[in-house]
Amino acid sequence: MTQVTVKHVRKEYETQVVIENVNLHVTDHEFVTIVGASGCGKTTFLRMLLGVESPTRGEFLIDGQPLPQEPGPDRGIVFQRYSLFPHLTVLDNLLLGLEFRGSSLLGHLHGTRRREAIAKADHLLDAVGLNASRNKYPAQLSGGMQQRLSIAQSVICEPKILLLDEPFGALDPGITGDMHELILKLWNMNKMTIFMVTHDLKESFYLGTRLLVFDKVRVDSQAQDRYGATITYNIPLKGRRSTQALDAAFDIGKMRNDEQRIHDYILPLGR
């Protein structure tokens, strides 16, 4: 059981308020998707959950405990890119988390323990469809394969929370469908809570059990940085919608911008 609670969180850099007054409660095994315009603090929010940034005010609680102020094995992360280790093969990339845990001095496993780790990795390699490429280096993989590996690499450590920062943003639209099936499969397999930042509104509806929209409520035209963004919509999505229904909804709103789409066509779907 993992409960994530966010209380009155505010983040400001010297003169700029990025987000303010963010409150949230997420129960176990949710899939939270986060959308919003660029510069609305989506990634900042994710980085605070990760532990690489700390809130100026307010607090993050995981199961009632304050969030540790550095990244740790209970929270996995998949970035848009650069999160694989180029000097390790696919298999070694996958084993790395197990080796960190199993051998504090050398960071390498040997003998029986290595074979056990490989057996575990094999299972995941099959799940993400990379078993045939197990001895290749990341640079030899396609973008989609790299992201699948990066996700598997985090999942093998069985994190309570998996953070995804636009993981499919750099991929061909054609393969994102496969990636969606994969992430849903792993989400159900490991029963973790997922937070995913995305630019793709349709994706956020398709994958999420809860949709968060970050936006600025107040804007001072004299000082753009004075007010930060907050969660303007927190929509529980009950049941997964069929892609057709979503396509229809998005076709109606084709000519409008995302904010209007949410308001006019998408919000009623969530209710």
Binding site: L50, V52, E70, P71, G72, P73, R75, G76, I77, F79, R81, Y82, S83, L84, F85, P86, H87, L88, L96, G97, E99, F100, R101, S104, L105, L106, G107, H108, Y137, P138, A139, Q140, Q146, S150, Q153, S154, C157, P159
Partner: protein
Amino acid sequence: MLPFILLISAYLIYSDARLAANPGDKLLPSPATLASTMHHYAFEEDERSGNILFWTDTVASLKRILTALAISAFLGVALGLNMGVIPFVRATLTPFIAALSLIPPLAILPILFIVAGLGELAKVLLIIIGVAPIMVRDLALRTAELPAEQMIKAQTLGASTWQLIIRVVMPQLWPRLIDALRLSLGSAWLFLIASEAIASTEGLGYRIFLVRRYLAMDVILPYVAWITLLAFGMDAVLRLVRAKAFPWAESGGSR
């Protein structure tokens, strides 16, 4: 290949022309003279010292340059890694190393001879002073440019700082170290020859400057070719080691 053939042909033609005009000409010796001199240097003992000069020179020079490069590489990794990973060390050492690397090494060669004497130490030190600061700076930059995403990802996989260094940072530094070594080969040889030219009793650079007094081009030219070949060989070996040992670094992808 063609430029080499042209150069050698030009040499042969001019050498032939000069020798036809003056058989005692020393500037462009004929291939036969070059061969017989080198045969004497490489296969016969020197009457005075009992050494085979060519090989004693080669061994002496290689010993100096390899020692100096090994120590520089060690310094490069040790300091560069710490400067790249630990902000405090970076802030403290970066300006110092930057200033150090701007001292012309040849300008402090007299200091080295005064302090370290005329033996091997001064020569090796000169090469290290000439090569190591640049290597340290290069490796510090290379370490710092590893994507922050990788470090964060490793932490979320449970890595401690120590594990991060030995499993993520160091392995990615080795091919970069080889690149730094290859780039510094040229200046390493420069400093080696300079120190040997000034105070030495053996060595490739020493020999060239010694026989200069006799206009012995039949020694100087083969020695220069040999030095070039050695440098080229070292470069080729490093390149080969990099390709064999770090195949992942070859395709150039930084992901």
